[in-house]
């Protein structure tokens, strides 16, 4: 067989493709520059801009607030990590409970359905209020009084309902023929779930789960409403004593720094799944 020599036609095609690629790259650059110039001009040209710059973009206040807000942010990260683990456990258990068909476990199934209905319906901030102020008021033995812990409980209840639905969608996306094959091999319901259905389901739901966790990261700030000294609360304290809102900017930047890597990871995993499916 003879070696491939690039034909004149192919060389011409590649020249056209290259020139087209150059052209779209320069158009993209130009339009981005125009867009940025317009936005900056629009904002800085607004009548209130000097005032806004003073209250939101004060370099001195920024440096002053950073240590406190940062130390508060550590609490956000802690709340986030603990809640995330608990949410995964609760979500998975609830999703499994909703799939139980044994009649004796009907109450569990009904309870799981009720749980997802209720906690997907109630705004997260309300759940935080109810748990943060209502739970300790019961004065039951063993109820934690630590505000951050109560915040974790509230976030777990709220997000657990969402994550349960994500898991359930994943479980239902596994083709029935996989279950038929497993059952035909003599695997019972539990073993079929554990070895065949769940491993496939969890792989599929990783991107939507990460998306929920990006959302959870910023919602840890809602816990500020019941009082623990996390990032937003620290920023509030600074802002209240100086009448300068730059500390909020500090908090916002910290949250962005945390969520961006997570969002990129989500994109990356989604792209990888697409590639694997050969689409």
């Amino acid at each position: 067989m003879s070696e491939w020599v690039k034909s004149e036609r192919q060389a011409e095609r590649e020249r056209v493709r290259r020139s087209r690629a150059r052209r779209s790259a320069s158009i993209a650059t130009a339009s981005t520059i125009v867009f940025i110039v317009l936005v900056v001009w629009g904002v800085t040209g607004s009548p209130g801009w000097p005032r806004v710059r003073e209250t939101f973009f004060d370099g001195e206040q920024f440096a002053k607030a950073l240590p406190d807000v940062l130390s508060g942010f550590v609490l956000n990260v802690k709340i986030f990590i603990v809640a995330e683990v608990l949410i995964l456990v609760v979500g998975l258990l609830v999703a499994l409970a909703r799939g139980i068909k044994t009649p004796a476990f009907f109450p569990i199934r009904a309870l799981a359905t009720l749980y997802t209905d209720v906690f997907r319906g109630v705004p997260t901030i309300l759940v935080i209020y109810l748990v943060g102020f209502g739970l300790p008021a019961l004065r039951l033995q063993g109820i934690p009084s630590d505000l951050a812990t109560l915040g974790v409980i509230a976030l777990t209840l709220s997000y657990g309902a969402y994550v349960a639905e994500v898991f359930r969608a994943g479980i239902e996306s596994v083709h029935p023929s996989q279950v038929a094959a497993a059952r035909s091999l003599g695997l019972g319901h539990v073993k079929t779930m554990r070895f065949v259905v769940l491993p496939q389901a969890t792989r599929r739901v990783v991107p939507p789960l990460l998306n929920d966790f990006v959302s959870l990261q910023k919602d840890t700030a809602l816990v500020a409403t019941i009082g623990p000294l996390e990032a937003l609360r620290q920023a509030q304290i600074h802002a209240a004593s100086t009448f300068n809102y730059t500390p909020y900017l500090v908090a916002a930047l910290l949250f962005i720094l945390l969520t961006i890597p997570m969002a990129r990871l989500t994109d990356h995993l989604a792209a990888r799944t697409r590639r694997r499916r050969g689409a």
């Binding site: 996989q178 059952r183 035909s184 091999l185 003599g186 695997l187 019972g188 073993k191």
Partner: protein, 247 residues
């Protein structure tokens, strides 16, 4: 005693009877083929034996035990059966080796080393030793189906059910799968298979059953069914198969 005995089995879907009083006996080491047009009830009959469908009437005995009794332990019954599907249904998240050892390890309690040893033996026997660590989507259709057959074999079933195992394969891959089934017959495995491959069916079967509209219309040794069918529907079916070039 026969391995499997089916007596007067009926199955209805949405008020339509798919199986209309099927009777069939399968003796040890016997290979029984079910032939007939699509929708004649071949696959449904296999799914009833496997208890993936519950029968609406009649009784099925496996080694003398009534498996259609609602109190029968479905998982225990299935442990004695090996089923292979048209679409392979390998577990995509597991390697070939894990696919094969899953049931021996998790259902039959075989140790990991022992189960893997057996799996390797089977893979070697059927020319797939190099694929033990591969994932199903890295294999050709023919290789996947051979793995599916090995997976069913690994639990040492009493009876193998093969449902259109070559229908989803390219013609050049059919041969390798038929080869493995032929080898199973030689090793004495009892099998029921549904197929559209008539020359293979004629070659391998001890008994051929022609199903039509949910009725087992005609049953006999392959020479008789293929050369001297008694029923006019069987003649008609074989003629149409002949015309489509599948013989």
């Amino acid at each position: 005693m026969s391995v499997l005995s089916i007596e007067g089995v009926w199955k209805n879907f949405h008020g339509h009877s798919v199986l209309r009083g099927i009777d069939l006996e399968v003796e040890p080491h016997e290979v029984v083929s079910l032939i007939g047009a699509s929708g004649s009830g071949k696959s449904t009959l296999l799914r009833c034996v496997n208890l993936l469908e519950t029968v609406d009437d009649g009784v099925i005995h496996l080694d003398g035990e009534d498996i259609t009794d609602p109190r029968a332990d479905v998982d225990l019954v299935r442990r004695r059966l090996g089923i292979v599907f048209q679409s392979f249904n390998l577990f995509p998240h597991m390697t070939v080796l894990d696919n094969i050892t899953l049931a021996p390890r998790r259902v039959h309690g075989t140790s990991k080393t022992r189960a893997e040893e057996q799996a390797h033996d089977l893979l070697t026997r059927f020319g797939l030793a190099s694929k033990a660590r591969a994932y199903p989507d890295q294999l050709s259709g023919g290789q996947q189906q051979r793995v599916a057959i090995i997976r069913a074999l690994a639990t040492q079933p009493r009876l193998m059910l093969l449902d259109e195992v070559t229908s989803a394969l390219d013609p050049e891959l059919v041969v390798e799968v038929l080869g493995i089934i032929r080898e199973l017959k030689e090793s004495g495995m009892t099998m029921i298979l549904t197929t559209h491959e008539m020359s293979f069916c004629r070659d391998i079967s001890d008994t051929v059953c022609f199903l039509d509209g949910g009725v087992l219309l005609e049953k006999g040794p392959p020479e008789q069914i293929f050369t001297d069918p008694r029923e006019s529907r069987t003649q008609e079916f074989l003629r149409s198969v002949l015309k489509s070039g599948r013989f």
